[in-house]
């Protein structure tokens, strides 16, 4: 659509319409807009909003998929808090988020710093480091991971060679979660690319000025790079944290669909899945889903609140 301003000089002059006609035309345009959006709106209502409303309702019921849901108020939530497996799932997920997310971001930032400098074969390295992010979520990688960390597999052998034999991570309740952490850290490519973009935005003059003032590489990183990319860092922290809370596929596959051994990989969504689809407690599973939503919302809110203290925006205008 052409803008009036750019119309060629000989274009017919556009006269202002009468207000009533204009209003009518506006309504018609809106209607057309809504009609064109209608497939999407219908999809949203049927596939997103509807199920969400339903699950909110089920969260307060006893529902096994076959009998009609029975209203039980907050019982699902009270049962949840007293359920040792639920507590375990919260603990496992928290551990995974708290250990996995910072490690992943540290690695992403580190590699981004290395790749930000121009050197030969840069494109290749970027692609190579990004590749795991593309395939990492697939089930087949889960299987590969399981194979890598099994007893007498490559990780175990390397460990034994270095003198500390654990007998593979996959079967050991104390170790298996770290194989999942390793899997998420390995997929650092996506935040790395975002860091790279952020690093490119830092003005060169700042570094030059700092160098003239005698600032070393660490000082330059601490006083220039970090504050300058803090909005990008914030974005990555937010995204990766939310992402970590939702871990399911890798835990499910690496544990051979058991979320074990000894519930050591019983991440929140895994327990939710077991409750819903194996034990047919859909009401309880829905309640769990809404608790997860609340928890993620809370963590997000805390992160947003904290950004005042450490995120630096150029114009200081938020």
């Amino acid at each position: 659509m052409t803008l009036v301003k750019d119309s060629p000089p000989d274009a017919p002059e556009i006269r202002p319409e009468a207000p009533a006609a204009k209003k009518r035309r506006g309504r018609r345009e809106n209607l057309a807009g809504y009609l064109f959006m209608s497939p999407w709106i219908a999809g949203f209502l049927l596939l997103t909003a509807g199920p969400m409303a339903a699950s909110l309702y089920f969260a307060f019921t006893d529902y096994n998929l076959f009998n009609s849901p029975k209203w039980i108020g907050f019982d699902n939530f009270t049962t949840m808090f007293h359920d040792p497996r639920w507590q375990k799932s919260v603990e496992v997920t928290a551990k995974y988020v708290v250990i996995g997310t910072p490690l992943k971001l540290l690695l992403a930032l580190g590699v981004a710093l290395l790749l930000a400098q121009s050197r030969r074969g840069q494109a290749f390295y970027r692609a190579a480091f990004y590749a795991p992010s593309l395939i990492g979520a697939s089930v087949s990688v889960g299987f590969v991971w399981r194979a890598l960390f099994s007893d007498d597999a490559i990780v175990d052998r390397t460990q034994s060679f270095l003198g500390f034999h654990t007998g593979g991570w996959v079967g050991d309740p104390n170790w298996v979660l770290y194989s999942l952490v390793a899997l998420t850290v390995w997929q650092f490519g996506a935040p790395m690319v975002i860091f790279l973009a952020g690093l490119k935005q830092v003005p060169k003059e700042l570094y030059e000025a700092a160098e003239v003032d005698g600032a070393g590489p660490f000082r330059r990183f601490w006083s220039i790079t970090l504050p300058m990319i803090s909005p990008v860092l914030f974005f990555n922290v937010l995204l990766e944290t939310i992402h970590s809370f939702q871990i399911f596929g890798s835990a499910y596959v690496v544990s051979n669909a058991t979320c074990g051994p000894a519930d050591a990989t019983l991440v929140y969504t895994c327990y939710l899945y077991q409750k819903g689809f194996r034990e047919s407690q859909m009401g309880f599973a829905s309640a769990m889903a809404w608790m997860l939503l609340l928890a993620v919302a809370l963590v997000t809110a805390v992160l947003f609140w904290s950004q005042k203290r450490w995120v630096h925006y150029e114009e200081d205008a938020r």
Partner: protein, 429 residues
């Protein structure tokens, strides 16, 4: 879009029509339900089961045979592994779209009967579309619940003890019918002391074995609607189990976990393992030793508590073709050719027609057939106790919590409490 910025009415109507059409299309593909019958009177029935490729090959061969004999009935199959199968089945059943015929087991009968999913096959039997004759040792009773025939057995099996024969021989242990638990555990200790090998791979978290032990003591794992034992019983069973792991006569559960998907018995990290007799084919395939079947230990030197359990074929209460479904099941359980094709893949063939038609040529299958004949001859077979709705969840909880307990991550007392609490929830739902 028009240069003047306004949208023609016709365009709007077209757009509306198009989006409605899209929605309509989505709706039809979403439901996808024709009744399974076509113009020329051919009906299609859906048959779902769990298992692996080997079973798929055999089942497809059997179905080809069936379709040749009944050209008006087409059979569409679908299979997954055990866990995925039941997850999918449950969703389909809840959505009112379960397969017409499906593989079933005793732990699921009451659960899905209670929810109105299973077809009572009695009327089909009375109509002559399905025969209940010639089932071995009364195994057809496994499919009966409250006077209804909800499943037709395809094969039967019984709990057994698989042993590494070489290790047992070297240790000088000879299992015999009627040996006691004390003798069994003494044997494990002897194996541990002389062969430096745990004797058992973890008997205490196998629900079906504990059921046998309870039956030997006049109880059972389940009653019609609950658990047939109390916390004190389980505390004793699990405390002993834990102590035996600590003493090294039962395989370290971490080791068992590492060996998966292999069994610790075939990985040579244990000398014996309790399991269903028809599962024993796998050990010879997986391991390097020779494996044999031994009798279940007893409490009083007589009763093993054993019974015949079975895989069954059940039908959906919603099927539009009950007659064809009955004919299909009838063919699958009675036809001698099918017996030859299926072999003991789903347990010892349930009907005498099929049992007589198939003579196993390989040693493991011969051993299984002999085992069942011996057990029947020993007169120890009893009738199966009920499995209430929720039995399946109880079984997996028993296995999981028993595992936690033996890993030492949960104290025995807490593990017992947790099992009873989870079982209570499962049996109530």
């Amino acid at each position: 879009m028009g240069n003047n910025g306004s949208v023609e009415r016709r365009t709007v109507l077209k757009a509306a029509g198009a989006s409605l059409a899209t929605l309509g299309l989505a709706a039809t593909t979403g439901c996808g339900g024709d009744g399974g019958s076509s113009g020329d009177g051919t009906v299609t029935i859906r048959y779902a089961w769990w298992g692996a490729d080997e079973r798929a090959k055999r089942i497809n061969q059997s179905i080809a045979l069936f379709e040749k004999k009944y050209p008006k009935i087409k059979v569409k199959t679908d299979f997954q592994d055990y866990v995925a199968f039941w997850e999918k089945f449950q969703t389909q059943a809840a959505g009112g779209n379960p397969p017409d015929v499906f593989q079933n087991a005793v732990g699921f009968l009451r659960k899905y009967d209670k929810r109105g999913v299973l077809l009572d096959l009695k009327p089909q039997i009375e109509a002559g579309n399905l025969s209940l004759d010639n089932f071995r040792a009364g195994v057809e009773k496994v499919g009966q619940v409250d006077g209804k025939q909800l499943g037709i057995p395809v094969g039967s099996n019984t709990m057994s003890l698989v042993i590494d024969e070489k290790v047992f021989e070297k240790a000088g242990v000879k299992p015999k019918q009627g040996w006691t638990w004390d003798e069994y555990f003494a044997a494990l200790k002897k194996i541990h002391d002389t062969q430096k090998l745990p004797g058992d791979t973890g008997y205490f978290s196998i629900m079906y074995l504990y059921d046998l032990y309870l039956r030997q003591n006049g109880k059972a794992f389940f009653t019609k609607d609950g658990l047939g034992f109390d916390e004190a019983d389980l505390t004793e069973w699990w405390t002993d189990g834990y102590n035996r792991v600590k003493a090294g006569i039962v395989t370290d559960p971490k080791r068992v976990e590492q060996d998966k998907p292999k069994s610790s018995l075939s990985a040579a990290h244990g000398a014996s393992e309790f399991t269903w007799d028809n599962f024993t084919v796998r050990y010879t395939a997986e391991g390097t030793s020779t494996y044999g079947l031994a009798p279940i230990p007893t409490t009083d030197g007589k009763q093993t508590g054993q019974y015949l359990a079975s895989l069954m074929l059940s039908a959906s209460a919603r099927t539009k073709h009950p007659k064809e479904v009955a004919q299909f099941i009838n063919f699958m359980v009675h036809d001698p050719e099918v017996g030859k094709i299926m072999g003991y893949d789903r347990g010892i063939l349930a009907t005498t027609e099929q049992f007589d038609a198939y003579k196993p040529a390989d040693a493991p299958n011969q051993a299984i057939a002999k085992y069942e004949t011996d057990v029947a001859a020993a007169g120890v077979l009893g009738t199966i106790t009920p499995h209430p709705a929720g039995a399946d969840t109880c079984e997996s909880a028993f296995l999981r919590i028993g595992g936690d307990m033996s890993q030492g991550t949960t104290k025995v007392a807490d593990a017992v409490k947790q099992f009873f609490s989870e079982a209570k929830t499962a049996l109530a739902s």
